[in-house]
């Protein structure tokens, strides 16, 4: 019995040593902690795979550890503590909450670790650099696109993100600004679907019952909710050609829906720009101004500007049936 227990411990230890040599080997590399706000979401998963596909990570000169924030600001705060203890060279963070992320980021910066904020905003002012799409602009664009699609106006329903999250607040402000230019468009219902496909579906089912034959367009602050709405429209036999659906994010399922003609427009949030761009900014923070960025996004999409700017804005790509195939 004793022997078995000892041998179990020994095999544990052996496994541990094998694993630890891996860590020790990583010591000479630049070590980056990437804090995703939730790895079970499609966009964040794409974001972290783009980070792992950055040329510097692929060729082994940079070691990246992905942390899953599990949609919980406390988990993210704990992971910042862990990253400080582990003495990472830089942190890339996609903060789940605007306010709650601030003290954690301040703490890491105070400990001398540069923090690159990616994908979502923080209330902290001390972060090293940020690389984020402009959500207000995204909202404005889909409002504007809808105005062009329905020049004679119509009734619009709007699905919102979780009330209070930075992306919801800004996309809503942009949509309001975009729709304001088209007084013939009338917002007849709006409610939060919490970014969720299932909630978007039941919202749309209820709206189709409440406003039979009166809904002329659907706006959703993300693709997931729009996909839920599309499912509800299919069951209710609503014609997609007469009722355009416009959304934001350009996740793979969203792009497929655009290709099939079920979704009219989605704005593509380029995970590679926010992910790989952040890696380059982190390496710039570690290595200084001589560092040359290696991700292709700095050639195809954005300007590097020496890497020394504080806030980089990632542009939206407007995807519809005419160009979606290029980005599949």
């Amino acid at each position: 019995m004793k022997v078995t227990r000892r041998s179990t411990i020994a095999s544990f230890a052996a496994a541990a040593i094998i694993l630890s040599t891996g860590t020790a080997f990583a010591q000479s590399k630049t070590r980056i902690a990437a804090l995703s706000f939730g790895e079970s979401g499609e966009y964040m998963k794409a974001w972290s795979s783009e980070i792992q596909n950055h040329p510097a990570v692929k060729d082994g000169s940079v070691a990246v550890t992905i942390f899953d924030g599990k949609y919980d600001p406390l988990v993210q705060a704990n992971q910042i503590d862990t990253a400080i203890t582990q003495k990472f060279d830089a942190i890339i963070m996609s903060p789940f909450d605007l306010q709650a992320s601030a003290p954690a980021i301040d703490k890491a910066v105070a400990a001398g670790i540069p923090v690159i904020v990616s994908a979502l905003k923080t209330a902290s002012k001390n972060y090293t650099a940020s690389i984020i799409v402009n959500d207000t602009e995204g909202g404005r664009i889909i409002g504007d696109q809808l105005g062009k699609l329905l020049p004679n106006g119509g009734n619009v329903v709007l699905m919102e993100g979780p009330i209070g999250q930075s992306a919801q607040i800004e996309r809503k402000a942009g949509i309001d600004a975009g729709l304001a230019k088209f007084p013939k468009l009338k917002l007849i219902a709006s409610k939060s679907g919490n970014w969720s496909r299932a909630e978007g579906q039941s919202l749309m089912e209820n709206w189709l019952l409440a406003h039979p034959g009166q809904i002329n367009a659907v706006l959703a602050e993300n693709d997931e909710m729009a996909l839920g709405a599309i499912e509800a429209m299919k069951s209710a036999k609503v014609d997609f050609k007469s009722v355009p659906v416009l959304a934001i994010d350009g996740i793979p399922d969203g792009k497929r829906a655009v290709q099939k003609g079920e979704m009219t427009v989605t704005l593509y949030k380029y995970a590679r720009a926010e992910g790989q761009g952040a890696v380059d900014l982190a390496l710039h923070a570690v290595k200084g101004d001589s560092y040359k960025p290696r991700s292709e996004v700095w050639e195809s999409l954005m300007e590097w500007k020496g890497g020394s700017q504080k806030d980089y804005v990632v542009p939206w790509l407007i995807l519809d049936a005419s160009n979606v195939a290029k980005y599949m």
Binding site: L19, T23, D81, A100, G164
Partner: protein, 327 residues
């Protein structure tokens, strides 16, 4: 007479296990599991055994630990409390609303309001369970949703930021290098342990959970005892809510979602029986530390969170399997 009956109940419970040392052996085995897991991570990662990491690890386990201690009381009486995650969100939200930059009161009032909210919702749980005979699972499942709803109504779905410096000390401060949340955890553990092990109330809790009919016949007001455990659980959920809100420096309407499951997991890993009457706070404390250690250690090693969830679930099931085996 009451004391006699209790000792009878206790003897009954004892004859089931091998000897009176049973409970001690059990708490001891959970300590061994904890040591083995720690040793594994210590070998696997050079940062694991640093003082700074242990401070992190204890701080990371403190909120779940406090919740789990409260839930232990409830589970010992054969009950369950699914509402703690939502209750902590409401308590934290109400407390935070009293210490913002536009509505700033003395921090003590915020603490009293937070603890009071937790205890009040706990009392409501207790009354629903004991006076209206609603099964604990259903009563607290209802409260899970009601407390979350109240949090959203109270906050209008918006976070409450800009909390006062003194309030932020509860979750962010430290005394002699030890973070305040860790001190709170140890204090709650010490008080809970004394209450369960050395007071009449503590023995009533075990008696009610072990055999409620016998406890009732022997004159214990089982309803009062059971209701009290829900008040304790609610109160500690309120306390955990204060710590959480203070740590994140903003009260969030979505705070604490799913925390009840980690708390129950800690209790179960710690060897407390869901059938009531058997278990200890030492087990729960180490149960919470084991969950914290797994999260922390696997984060340090860079293990994918997908595998972390798998392992956590497996450990819960294995813990209970071992428990059944021992019986």
């Amino acid at each position: 007479m009451v004391a006699n009956a209790i000792s009878n109940v206790a003897t009954g419970a004892r004859s089931k296990s091998i000897a009176a040392v049973g409970p001690y052996l059990k708490s001891f085995s959970i300590v061994i599991v904890f040591v083995v897991i720690s040793a594994f991570f210590a070998v696997a990662n050079e940062y694991f055994m640093t003082w700074l990491n242990w401070v992190n690890l204890l701080r990371q386990s403190s909120i779940n630990g406090v919740l789990a201690i409260g839930v232990t009381f409830v589970i010992l009486t054969k009950g369950i409390d699914l509402s703690v995650g939502s209750v902590m969100a409401l308590a934290g939200m109400i407390a935070a609303s009293l210490v913002t930059s536009t509505n700033q009161h003395f921090v003590l009032w915020a603490i009293v309001a937070g603890l009071g909210t937790g205890a009040a919702l706990g009392l409501l749980n207790g009354v629903i369970v004991t006076a209206f005979n609603v099964p604990p699972f259903v009563a607290t499942l209802g409260m899970l949703s009601m407390a979350r709803g109240l949090t959203l109504i109270f906050s209008d779905g918006r976070p409450v930021p800009n909390l006062s410096e003194s309030f932020r000390w509860i979750g962010g401060g430290s005394v002699a290098g030890v973070p305040v949340p860790v001190l709170i955890l140890f204090l709650v553990f010490a008080i809970g342990w004394v209450v369960l092990s050395y007071t009449t109330f503590g023995r009533y809790v075990y008696a009610v959970g072990g055999n409620d009919k016998a406890a009732k016949t022997s004159g214990i007001s089982t309803r009062t005892v059971i209701a009290s455990t829900y008040v304790i659980s609610g109160l500690l959920a309120g306390l955990a809510g204060l710590v959480l809100t203070s740590r994140t420096t903003a009260a969030l309407p979505q705070a604490g979602i799913g925390y009840e499951l980690d708390a129950i997991a800690a209790v179960v890993i710690g060897g407390t029986s869901l059938a009531g009457g058997r278990g200890s706070l030492v087990g729960t404390l180490f149960g919470a530390l084991i969950i914290g250690t797994i999260n922390n250690g696997m984060d340090l090693m860079g293990v994918s969170s997908y595998y972390q969830q798998l392992l956590k679930g497996a450990i819960i099931v294995v813990a209970v399997m071992l428990d059944q085996f021992r019986k």
